[in-house]
């Protein structure tokens, strides 16, 4: 499904990685490992098409993601360092907008169910600015419940999350992979998903 061939990435005049090749098939979970500054985020951003790689190609279902463009974006969820939520809006409004930007028209019930699953019951109508860092991250992660995109690209999904939330994310990833989804992620905390072999990709 996702094939990366001979990918090279340069930031400024610093070469992050070169000749990177791997592929990801349905039902697979891949962790990108490497010390700070090794290019984990750059790799994930290249997978989302934000970064134009210096060399190599990224293919989705056999076609270059450059050619696919919006067709590819419809099958991708990206969760970056930033939560992409607005302080002035409440969690419900934020998720409606996020789902809409991702191309899905969702009802209030669906959004409320997603927020409850993320442990944000009774926080739905509070402006996000009064929530804690971890709670904001939970709002951002609730997006994963409002999409049926097969490819999840998660950059440090566990930042600011407590133990309970980490378990929840592991559960979500497990369900997604069991349905034939694909997840590629970076993390500095260990992530254990029951019943799934995690592949690792090491960036030096």
């Amino acid at each position: 499904m996702l094939e990366v061939g001979n990918l090279g990435c340069v930031r400024g005049d610093h070469r992050l990685f070169a000749g990177l090749s791997f592929s990801l098939s349905p039902g697979e979970l891949m962790q990108v490992q490497g010390p700070n500054g090794s290019g984990k985020t750059s790799l994930l951003r290249a997978l989302c098409g934000f970064l134009m790689p210096e060399a190599g190609e990224i293919r989705w279902r056999g076609k270059s993601i450059r050619e696919l463009g919006e067709q590819y974006f419809a099958e991708l969820v990206y969760l970056g360092h930033h939560n992409a939520i607005k302080d002035e809006l409440n969690a419900l409004e934020n998720l409606h907008i996020n789902a809409g930007l991702a191309g899905a028209a969702v009802g209030d019930q669906q959004v409320l169910a997603a927020l409850r699953r993320m442990g944000l019951r009774k926080k739905e109508l509070l402006p996000v600015k009064v929530l804690s860092q971890g709670q904001r991250r939970r709002v951002a992660l609730a997006r994963l419940l409002l999409t049926d995109a097969p490819l999840w690209v998660l950059d440090e999904p566990l930042t600011a999350l407590d133990v309970g939330a980490v378990d929840l994310i592991q559960e979500l990833i497990g369900e997604h992979v069991a349905k034939g989804g694909m997840v590629i992620y970076t993390t500095h905390q260990p992530l254990q998903v029951a019943g799934v072999q995690t592949r690792t990709l090491a960036l030096a």
Partner: protein
């Protein structure tokens, strides 16, 4: 399966979202409007109101003053057009929108016009009175602003997208966008002067409308490309 959002649905969603955000941050909308009112009001105070030649001069320069003030006021809010979304990561999600980035950008431009251009249009007749503008000229001035202020938002969007994430972006946007706005200024102010001298003003307004149509077609697409470049 999730229900797919239509293109018009996306447009409505983006406009509603930006208007909602503007409602919760009213100060931003008000600064643009207050700036416009202040700049325009300074001229009668500076030139002097009265009966003699000053009053005539004031009426003569009024369209130019209102248009220049509108131009400067619309520059004020351009910096905010994409920067907040850029800083909190929303822009990344927008670039990944599967429908159409240009349509999404058009929605943002529309919302920007509603919060920065439209208030100026509504305020202009009141300000025109300070300059003793006859009602005929006032009407054409407002018509010109209705056609011209959206163009300012559209050209501004291109500038704002190009300078995204740059230090001193605010000043740079003005330097980039102001020269491009000169045609709008010329035809907008020209239409009112044409009425004043008893000539046909329709040609000016038609040219303004043509600029607006061309900008509607081109700028969302150019802005979308500029955003992708700025995101690298």
């Amino acid at each position: 399966m999730m229900n797919k959002l239509s293109l018009t649905g996306l447009l409505a969603l983006v406009v509603r979202r930006d208007l909602l955000l503007a409602m919760r941050r009213r100060a931003d909308v008000l600064t643009t409007l207050v700036f416009f009112v202040m700049v325009v009001s300074l001229f009668p105070l500076g030139v002097g109101v009265g009966q003699g030649p000053e009053a005539q001069m004031l009426t003569k320069i009024a369209p130019g003053v209102v248009w220049v003030a509108a131009l400067l006021a619309s520059m004020l809010s351009l910096g905010r057009m994409f920067s907040a979304d850029y800083l909190d990561g929303t822009l990344e999600q927008m670039l990944l929108a599967p429908q159409s980035l240009p349509v999404l950008v058009l929605g943002k431009i529309l919302a920007h016009w509603m919060t920065s251009g439209l208030p100026l249009v509504l305020m202009a007749p009141v300000l025109g009175l300070q300059f003793n503008l006859p009602s005929g000229q006032l009407g054409v001035l407002v018509l010109g602003l209705v056609l011209g202020t959206p163009v300012l938002s559209m050209l501004g969007a291109v500038g704002a997208a190009l300078t995204l994430g740059l230090r001193g972006g605010g000043v740079l946007v003005s330097l980039l966008v102001l020269p491009l706005c000169i045609p709008v200024l010329i035809f907008g102010a020209g239409a009112v002067e044409a009425v004043a001298s008893g000539m046909d003003y329709v040609a000016h307004l038609k040219l303004l409308a043509a600029i607006a149509v061309a900008a509607t077609v081109l700028t969302p697409w150019v802005t979308a490309q500029a955003l992708r470049i700025s995101m690298e």
